[in-house]
Symmetry: C2
Subunit: 730 residues, 2 copies
């Protein structure tokens, strides 16, 4: 089963289906909306990495004009399920090849008109969108098809685009514009090829250019046109125009079928490396594949200037920003299956080091304090007032931006994991080591020596559990800071040994001698909270003293359904109720440092206290349950993680802020649970090992892993583990 | 002019007049309400130092049954201005002798009945309340006078008293009870002496015992009775009963006039030492005397187990707790005029050291962390949720209790100032040094070494400006912590030199050798924020980055009139608007460390940003303005401080919490401004100096100061300063 299918049409599902039926290729995302939809239905051709700020609103990625806009009008009625109930309706996403399909039949006075369409975002020609659109009727009648570019884009905090320059020449429609803040050129061109002859006239206004096709339609005959659209940005405007023109010209010469096959074959190549086959559990199989689909459409093979936003390419929520989600929850997938993307994700962080330096300086620290919400420059898009109080409508002071300091360590961790997998010193030499050193310097400058206890502490932070802001000695954060110091020391030794010149240059460039000495000094006394007598690791200083209460009890205290649980006065803030895995995240990432007993005790203790208000939470619980040898306990959290975008049952609001969209970190977490949890993959001394804990109805798992430039296939059954190197042709 | 007089009666003034016409003697306070009033009019016989907690409500001081309750009924109508408009009404407080008077004439069908009364709380027989009550009419008629004990007391967070045992023997009515939490016995007895004969019957219920006096009254003849009431607590119950009985027996033998004279003479003695005479400004003269009156009725000559609550003896607000107000704003008055009280205030802190140790331990620190709201044990009465959110009715997490760490330093400062004035080593030997050492130890254990900058910092505090919670390196707090270290080091040297044995014993008892060494180490690197290039001292790290806005602008953002400005999300919290003098308080207490230029610059800068939401604020601005040689700038803040309880224009609510009552710290601040500001008193090397800055219409100031057991009289005119020792008979 490789298809997401819906046969109902409900207005309430439009937003959710926009995410669920999303197509894309990392360069752009196109929401799973119908061709006749517009901004009210949250149509978006989302361009990750192209950011714009309008007035003092939130800076967010830009949505481009929609080149696939198409509608059919019969007898004055628009054939749109919002306008008229279809007698048949089906929307399909084929995740095997990233193909979106729709079919709708409308009945007007026994005249039945069927619309079918297919579209895909080309995986290698990544600025190319392709659509096939057909109509067919059960009677001879006159129809109008309108198709063109709809420039009236949906924006959360826009408008972002300057007035369009609209050109219509030789059946090629081009919208050229640029962003308001940074004047980044954006060019969208499209052309159509019709398999029929018809009179075409144009309707144009400042936001739209629509071809009006008047069709005298024969009964039972299919009328099809193909659309080729090119979306270019960040180039010189003339260059962008030319490239777009060339791209659609080449595409229309090649034609729909060849493009489709080209794209299909590329998808097969990707699935060949990325697929995880499960036997015995179709629901899990499909959900996991759907998760992998989302990671595939987020690949960043094409650029090291962009990374993967927290809501992927599904729209503008979360400011299109890159969070720790990428390094901690998605990078593992790419490290196993797509090193080009993995390296680009790391390079994005290297490329934005200066932004992290600016942020550290802004708060009076040295080194690199990476953005909590990173955009193209690495400057922080996160506001000090990131939530709106539902009671007063006032912005609430939140501490995501200035206190979630574990972000720098997460990035160091990601770089180091990548280095370990690719085993290529050039990653460290070309910026990786510099980031690591600067992040270590940041923690040194951020931390304090508790003179009275001779220990180095990390104070006033917000850990993964964002419901408790400004806490001291968050176990996860402190352990990650320690990891940063450890990695910095390892890297300094490694570089010194392997490439003395670049080591010396870097130390000199960063004026780092003294800092390295101090880091080597405080690393010995960095305080990481340890299990107490009951085996529980206190999430942060004073956590145990907070009100002990159930999630349900806290929920029952809500006055307003959308009120923010965190912040200083949120209903969870003064209780032990946490948003998401925090100590449990620590236990996963440092699982070899804790006994099963400790993992089990803390899993139990914190699970009762976790609201799972973040989609990052479930996979951590699933992974640690697997570590504990309890795949059945892991299973529901795995499924929760894998299905979050299928069910659409995720939080839509935090405070007064809409936060909908896809959840690639949950997709990544589902993948991690499958591979590192159920299959129990561990790479030990550059060798693949497996310690599987398959759920009881899973007969087998098969998947591939890249290691040392070789592709390995792993086949796991209840009784057997086979790890075999594939031939080199992949 | 020594009298506060009101001739109007408005229901809206009842609460305010309860404070304005307050009488008392430190042992008890009796609110300025009319005899016929009850709990709805906030009658209170307040017992500072006797605390009780009912269920999980706030712990607060107890109000005793009201032994002065008296009302007159004519023809079925109660002669009470709430019931019937008086044709004449006057309420008077004679501050020269603490005498409360009322006179009301009611007219019912042309029958005019006049009630007059006088009452005082005896200054030396401090458990004794005395009242004279008279009626007179313009016609022959029958009246009923009801007088007795009203046990239906007003409580904010009560009820606090167990059921009364009521005894009525030999015309002596006694209510015996005890508090619910700690079973502290409370006995209130009263008797009356009538100058007329009348039939008396009794009405009794569980809360009241009332004598009903049926009077056949002659025209124009005055009928008077005298009441003597004794209020005993904290003794064994039988002992309390006996002492109360004896006290009212002795009192009634002595009679009203003699008691009045006794009390009057004692008041004269106190004024002789305490008065500050001003020529040329009657309003200032009266307001200042009224302030001194409040400090006189708060003297604690009788006990070192109680100190002066923030709302004095005016009721239960602020939990009857002792704040830094006492040491920093009131102690200076007693150090100049009443050393017995000064020493008792200090001893109260010594006596509550164990409470401060418990609080330090509770938060994971060593040493003594004094209660922000201290009651009889020194345990903190302040809650972590000290304000109610007006929008949600939820308790708001506030950080008064756990972060206002300057309290320990304020106490050290108070002890040291007292030691310097009384020059008596026994104060240090008998607990003073122990408190100082333990407070220094607390700051050492609270603070952190910023390794990166090699400086010792005081993090995560709330300074005097409570609108900004959890800030780092509050200038005032850090300087006070430094002062604590300095004083601890001075005391250790002093004790070592003067009384080696007690020094050794103390060091040994406290196991203090290592701590002293460490304190001597970090004192050198304790960070105190210094003036920046513009001469401004940043109130705390990051203050300059907060929104720059006017007080009026912030006020205009209020949605609810009673919403709390502070807390994490209060309207002031993210702006530069501060509740009260903070840096300016630093500049006053350490005025010799800053140039006039710096004082002037910061005064200007912070004044614009100060809401004066605390009654402690104005006097600090007044004092620093005097330091700057600008008495005219100081004058309005002086007057604001001196008149706060006369005008009744103070904040009545913080969040949803009623905070009304008298403001003894403002009274103390007014006194300080007069003496240390306008008169410019400085005691330098044990010698009295004056550097006066009289406001332009002030012709002269005269006042007395005790120094080295001598009384000095200071006469200051525009051109002349005379400082003369008084003879020894004072």
């Amino acid at each position: 089963m490789w298809k997401v299918i819906t046969k109902d049409f409900n207005k309430e599902d439009i937003i959710n289906h926009g995410n669920k039926f999303l197509i894309g290729n990392g360069y752009m995302g196109y929401r799973g909306t119908l061709e006749e939809f517009g901004k009210n239905e949250l149509v978006a051709l989302n361009l990750p990495g192209v950011y714009d700020q309008y007035e003092n609103k939130w800076r967010e990625p830009v949505n481009a004009p929609n080149p696939l806009f198409t509608r059919v009008i019969y007898d004055g009625t628009e054939l749109n399920p919002i306008v008229i109930n279809p007698v048949f309706h089906q929307q399909t996403l084929d995740i095997s090849c990233g193909l979106h399909k729709r079919e709708s039949t409308f009945d007007i006075n026994n005249k039945q008109i069927t619309i079918t369409s297919e579209r895909f975002a080309h995986l290698t020609k990544y600025s190319l969108l392709v659509m096939k659109y057909s109509v067919k009727t059960n009677a001879h009648l006159n129809l109008v098809i309108e198709t063109g570019i709809d420039g009236d884009v949906w924006d959360i905090n826009g408008p972002h685009l300057n007035p369009y320059q609209i050109v219509n020449e030789n059946n090629i429609v081009t919208f050229s514009t640029n962003t308001r803040e940074c004047h980044i050129p954006i060019v969208v061109s499209e052309t159509i090829l019709c398999d029929f002859n018809a009179k075409i006239s144009n309707i144009i206004d400042s936001h739209k250019l629509i071809r009006q096709i008047n069709l005298n339609i024969e009964k039972d005959k299919t009328y099809t046109f193909y659309k080729f659209a090119s979306v270019k940005h960040s180039l010189d405007e003339a260059e962008a125009n030319m490239q777009a023109m060339n791209e659609i010209n080449s595409a229309s010469v090649l034609g729909y079928e060849k493009l489709f096959i080209e794209n299909y074959l590329e998808w097969q190549k990707r699935w060949l490396v990325s697929d995880v086959e499960l036997k015995g559990d179709e629901e899990a199989q499909f959900s996991l594949r759907y998760s992998i689909y989302h990671l595939l459409i987020l690949n960043q093979k094409h650029s090291d200037k962009v990374s993967i936003p927290a809501r992927g390419i599904s729209g503008q929520t979360y400011k299109g920003a890159i969070f720790w989600d990428t390094e901690m929850f998605m990078l593992p997938f790419y490290l196993n299956t797509d090193l080009q993307t993995a390296k680009n994700l790391v390079k994005y962080r290297i490329n934005t080091l200066d932004g992290a330096r600016r942020k550290a300086m802004e708060y009076g620290f040295r080194g690199a304090f990476y953005a909590w919400e990173s955009q193209e420059t690495g400057d922080d898009a996160c506001s000090h007032f990131n939530v709106t109080d539902v009671f007063t409508n006032r912005p609430l002071r939140t501490y995501f931006r200035d206190k979630q300091v574990h972000i720098s360590a997460d990035i160091v961790y990601g770089i180091w994991q990548t280095y370990l997998r690719i085993n290529d010193l050039s990653l460290l030499i070309n910026g990786g080591a510099e980031v690591i050193f600067e992040c270590a310097r940041f923690y040194y400058s951020y931390g304090y020596l508790k003179h009275d206890k001779n220990r180095f502490e990390i104070l006033d932070v917000t850990g993964p559990d964002e419901y408790h802001e400004r806490v001291n000695n968050n176990a996860f954060t402190n352990r990650m800071a320690l990891e940063t110091f450890n990695i910095a020391i390892k890297v300094s030794k490694l570089l010194k040994a392997e490439n003395k010149e670049s080591f010396d240059n870097l130390i000199k460039k960063l004026n780092y001698t003294e800092d390295l000495k101090r880091i080597e000094e405080v690393v010995k006394i960095l305080y990481v909270p340890q299990p107490n007598n009951s085996g529980i690791i206190e999430q942060f200083d004073g956590y145990f003293k907070l009100e002990e209460v159930t999630v349900d009890e806290v929920k029952s205290r809500l006055i307003h359904p959308n009120e923010y649980w965190g912040g200083a006065n949120g209903i969870a803030a003064n209780t032990q109720i946490i948003k998401q895995a925090d100590v449990v995240t620590l236990l996963y990432f440092f699982n070899d440092e804790y006994s099963s007993e400790i993992k089990k005790t803390n899993w139990d203790y914190y699970l009762k206290r976790t609201e799972h208000g973040s989609s990052l939470s479930a996979s951590m619980y699933a992974l640690v349950a697997c570590e504990n040898g309890n795949p059945e306990w892991a299973y529901p959290y795995f499924m929760k993680s894998a299905t979050v975008d299928l069910t659409g049952k995720s939080k839509q609001y935090a405070g007064g802020i809409y936060i909908g969209g896809t959840h690639p970190a949950a997709s990544g977490g589902a993948y991690m649970t499958a591979i590192y949890g159920f299959a129990g993959l561990k790479i030990i001394e550059n060798q693949i090992k497996c310690f599987p804990h398959l759920p009881k109805n899973w007969e087998s798992m098969s998947f591939k892993v890249i290691l040392n430039n070789d592709l390995y296939k792993l086949d796991i059954t209840k009784n057997n583990i086979t790890i075999a190197k594939e031939d080199n042709s992949w």
